[in-house]
Amino acid sequence: MSMKTTLATGMLLATVGTSAMAQSLVYCSEGSPEGFDPALYTSGTTFDASSHPVYNRLSEFKVGTTETVPGLAESWEVSEDGLSVTFNLRQGVSFHSNANFTPTRDFNADDVIFTFDRQGNSENPYNQVSGGSWEYYSSMSMPELVSSIEKVDDYTVKFNLTRTEAPFIANMAMDFASIVSKEYADAMMEAGTPEMVNQAPIGTGPFTFQAYQKDAVIRYLRNDNYWGDPAKVESLIFAITPDASVRYQKVQAGECHVMAYPNPADVADMQSAEDIVVMEQEGLNVGYLAYNTQMPPFDNANVRKALNMSIDKQAIIDVVFQGSGEIAKNPIPPTMWSYDENTVDDEYNPEAAMEMLAAEGVEDLELKIWAMPVQRPYNPNARRMAELMQEDFSKVGVDVEIVSYEWGEYLERSSDVDRDGAVLLGWTGDNGDPDNFLAVLLGCDGVGGSNRAQWCNEEFDAVIQEAKTLSSQEERTALYEEAQAIFKDQAPWATIAHSVVFMTMRPEVEGYVVHPLGGHIFNQVGLSE
């Protein structure tokens, strides 16, 4: 079905007339989604348009926190050995309908099994549909983690795991775990149009998908049969507006109610404007400089600490982030549970750093700094950041050469164990679990891959591995605090910054909450008269 037919389909569904459009919330989004089946993609722009308005998951992140709460599963039990998790599903939840599909039954265990089976089982007829790349499913190690999924009865599903994995419940709240309708998928397969599952999504969420015009607009209508608190507005419209200055102009002109990702340079102006509201929160990310801890002299923690002490982080926040960032002292961001407030950051002290280097017998040190060729929330301008560091390091007698590669090359070469130099990179959290930062970025398994410091510290690794097997958040917090202390002492990275996320909106917008996981969620957002 072509884009135009999709639009026409939406038209048939459309029950709102022009009068109802007064109850429309218009969000100026930054780009087009890649599709509407969240399991196929990894970008936040796609999740904003698909998983948040249209779908639900077994567990959900409570908006504004990284805490998991019941979603399509009313409750769950973890077995004593931690090797199986049983979800008790919510009853009486109906899927949306569209011109090509009307559900004949409510959501049940078959939908849950289908959702995951198509991602993990190459025999599933949907495994290869729409390109069939289930990147998040594989990057969260689900194929190795889940040994089988059993249907106990229509409203009970049991996941058998190969190991104990505390973040599993949080994984089930991630976008890739959005529950799709098996009945819809079957109907579309029979009609010979399986790609419709990705193009005209059917979910259980607070909004039903109405129409999409690439690079222009996405329309949703309120789902009046929603099982949870119904949406506050009758329709939700994404006006796709790639340029940040133009988004701001549109908010000012009243063409949009809310916009994401303002230019850092515009934020001061927005904050002083009378009819504009700006919200801010630290992003769930960290930007860092990873030394190669397997290469002398960077295998010496004192040398790394001395280098960390020579970096003027405040200057980086001011110049590179233009205020839209804050200094990072831990490898996890402050909005994440178990973040250790008590960590003391290395003080900026070039004289002491020079003495430390001399005490370690390091002279005429040369260092390559790798600067990313792309902009990221955790590092808006890596080249500029590298230049500032070059200047800082030159003050302690370290000669820096800045290198860069095309992004794909950069990612590949920087993973190399024999890599020469320290790498600027960062990470944005997936599931709000500390394991998603500490194990992925600093665990021994990540050496030669996502562990850019090539740092394998047995003590650290033992602590994070143990934390993964516990279900009590309190006990896990204690272990992760211990891990953060080891990290700070060993300094495999210089932690640079967490970005600050700004949301700009008109004063009539009510109930918007900045979500620490980065999504833009409008389920409970209303407009005052």
Binding site: L7, G35, E135, Q249, A253, G408
Partner: protein, 335 residues
């Protein structure tokens, strides 16, 4: 005339093959592996990498990949986007009407102002009007598009609130788009005010996109007119006592149009493919932005297919221009 057109069409074939080869080779010469770019910071296991390589055919020798691509193209299959997984063909035709509509409006705007301005400047050569016009044209030609567009938005949409900031139509209006041309669809939608809204949304992007062609056309018309006005037959016409309007409008302008049409033909190619900045700023859902996004994402099928389709269109436009020469100057079609 028929032979002339046929011979022109025959030259299409080698150009088409060449463009296919260049569009295939161009994106592969750029460093950056699309699979690694897709995985980003998250990375990917070797097994998964191998699986995806096989799925996209990257494990095949390059000549085999090209052959597969070429045979696909011959059968009208341009492949599916790596990113959206949708056929390149579908994506192109969903976006192209927006680009075409904007390009046509921009070209009409440039012609409507550029041709008379050039003629008037030539007739008043060296006078104040000529100098003022040509200086303005030079400024228009050198203006950074991004800055010009934002300036217009801030003044006309922000301060004066005469025009909307961006988009193709007020989001209040919602109707099917059988043609993809907003002016036509809004007119046939039967919703009152929709057409007016579509026109208002077109004003600023048309001015921004039309500015450079306007400047080029004005300057080209002026110089071509000056050349023609110095010809003997114009002096003869004057000697015969024809009115200035008739001499300038019919005898001079018609002959001056040949180089002007060449410029128009070349500008159309630029308009179709080069509206990227205008499209980005005005959130205009066209093919310029689509292509650039695809290059950054190393979305091979989209870059290859998009380049090929744009090249074919530019070839068609230039063929039309060549035929127009024949209409304007019978000497050319007899050659």
């Amino acid at each position: 005339m028929l032979n002339y057109i046929l011979s022109r069409i025959l030259t299409f074939i080698p150009t088409f093959v060449g463009v296919t080869l260049i569009s295939f080779g161009f994106i592969r010469v750029l460093p950056g592996d699309p699979i690694i770019v897709m995985a980003g910071e998250r990375g990917m296991s070797d097994a998964r990498y191998a699986e995806l390589s096989a799925q996209y055919g990257f494990d095949q020798p390059i000549y085999k990949q090209f052959w597969d691509y070429l045979t696909g193209v011959m059968q009208g299959d341009l492949g599916n986007s790596f990113v959206t997984k949708r056929p390149v063909w579908d994506e192109f035709f969903a976006l192209f009407p927006a680009t075409l509509e904007l390009s046509i409006c921009a070209m009409l705007f440039a012609l409507a102002l550029g041709l008379p301005a050039g003629v008037i400047a030539a007739v008043n050569r060296g006078k104040f009007f000529d100098r003022a016009l040509m200086s303005t044209a030079l400024i228009g030609y050198s203006m950074p598009i991004f800055w010009w567009a934002l300036l217009l938005i801030i003044v006309f949409s922000g301060n004066l609130q005469w025009t909307p900031v961006s988009g193709r139509i007020d989001l209040l209006y919602y109707f099917p788009d059988p043609t993809g041309f907003m002016l036509i669809d809004s007119l046939t939608s039967g919703q009152s005010g929709a057409f007016k809204s579509a026109v208002r949304h077109l004003i600023l992007p048309t001015i921004v996109l039309g500015t450079i062609p306007l400047a080029v056309i004005a300057r080209q018309t002026r110089s071509a007119m000056l050349e023609v006005l110095g010809e003997d037959y114009i002096r003869t016409a004057r000697a015969k006592g024809l009115s200035t309007g008739r001499i300038n409008g019919i005898h001079a302008l018609r002959n001056a149009l040949i180089p002007v049409i060449t410029v128009i033909g070349l500008s159309v190619g630029t308009l179709l493919a080069g509206a990227i900045l205008t499209e980005t700023i005005f959130s205009w859902p066209g093919i310029g932005k689509w292509m650039v996004d695809s290059i950054f994402r190393r979305d091979y099928p989209v870059v290859q297919g998009g380049l090929l389709l744009i090249a074919v269109m530019v070839m068609v436009v230039n063929l039309t221009v060549d035929m127009l020469y024949g209409v304007i100057n019978p000497k050319i079609r007899k050659r």
